[in-house]
Amino acid sequence: MKANEPNPVIKGSLTAIIMKLLENNSRMYGYEMTKAVREITQNKMNITEAALYPALHKLVEEGLLETTAEQVDGRMRKYYALTKKGKKETIAKIDALKDALESVQILLNSKLSNG
């Protein structure tokens, strides 16, 4: 899969990825998140803008993230940070993602047979 193509697996776990990033970095802006994911995964994963911003807006809507705006390099930069509720939810989301990944791993490693 090309780096700029949306990966459906990543899309499904995007919320957990965003929350984990914010747990480690206290506050980040959108572009910084996409860059961090690319750097951490050595360009194996790419979060597209079309997936990132709707996810961020949804998390704000749910009260899991809060935003602050600042003037940086002549333009408005919006920083996202976890709320108290978001911090609690992060643990649950990451645990759920780990469980799902472990299950997938077990499935991929087993010899699947039908009947």
Partner: protein, 228 residues
């Protein structure tokens, strides 16, 4: 982070580019601009020979086939959801406040009695409507118009969205009033409906105003960046 930094003129060109794509509201432009600018700066840093305009095209392609549309749509959706929450919170707060309950009931009862009184005395000067109905309907329309005027509703996305989420059930006043004097319906029924609608209309107007104030505060917070 990128060492290349866009200058004021280049940022203006990016803002104009976003506008040219159909996203004219400053709030939406601000929402997209920083990410777009970061992306352009990154492209210019990766390839120092790349012109600004080529970098813009490369950065634009990274937004995918839908371009800026998903960002704009989800931003508007988030605003709508925020103002809907503010509106209903204020609506129930107003309706359930211990001081408000007797006042609202008194207001509703007053309108109920006035409507019956006007009906008995055959006060029907506007479109054969009970005059109390007509006055209340006009009053409601004027109150809405004042809120729209004071809050300059059309001027920005925040206020437009806030006004859009308000619950306009009391507009039924306008529809029901001309039909509220039906001969087969007991006379207290339309009077009761008028009383209930007036209570709802007052609560709705208070909640609407509070929602508009929240939108105005949100707008003020980001307004400083609009001309940056």
């Amino acid at each position: 982070m990128a060492n290349v930094k866009l200058n004021e003129q280049q940022l203006k060109e990016l803002a104009d580019y976003i506008k040219a794509k159909g996203f004219k509201d400053p709030a939406i432009i601000n929402e997209i601009l920083d990410h777009f600018a970061c992306k352009v700066e990154e492209e210019m840093e990766i390839d120092a020979t790349l012109s600004f305009y080529d970098a813009v095209n490369k950065a634009r392609n990274s937004f995918g086939v839908m371009g800026f549309a998903p960002i704009a749509a989800s931003f508007t959706k988030q605003l709508r959801s925020r103002y809907r929450r503010v509106y209903w919170k204020k609506f129930w707060q107003t309706a359930s406040a211990p001081l408000h309950i007797p006042l609202l009931l008194l207001l509703g009862y007053g309108c109920f009695k006035c409507w019956l009184w006007a009906n008995v005395n055959n006060y029907q000067h506007i479109m054969e409507m009970n005059d109390v109905s007509a006055i209340l309907t006009i009053g409601y329309v004027i109150a809405q118009a004042i809120i729209m005027y004071q809050e300059e509703t059309r001027k920005n996305l925040y206020k437009q969205t806030a006004f859009g989420v308000a619950w306009f059930f009391p507009w039924m006043l306008i529809y029901i009033m001309p039909h509220s004097n039906h001969p087969n319906v007991p006379v207290w029924v339309p009077a009761l409906i008028v009383g209930i609608l007036v209570i709802l209309a007052v609560i709705q107007l208070i909640a609407l105003r509070a929602t508009m104030r929240t939108a105005a505060a949100d707008y003020d917070e980001v307004k400083q960046f609009f001309n940056a």
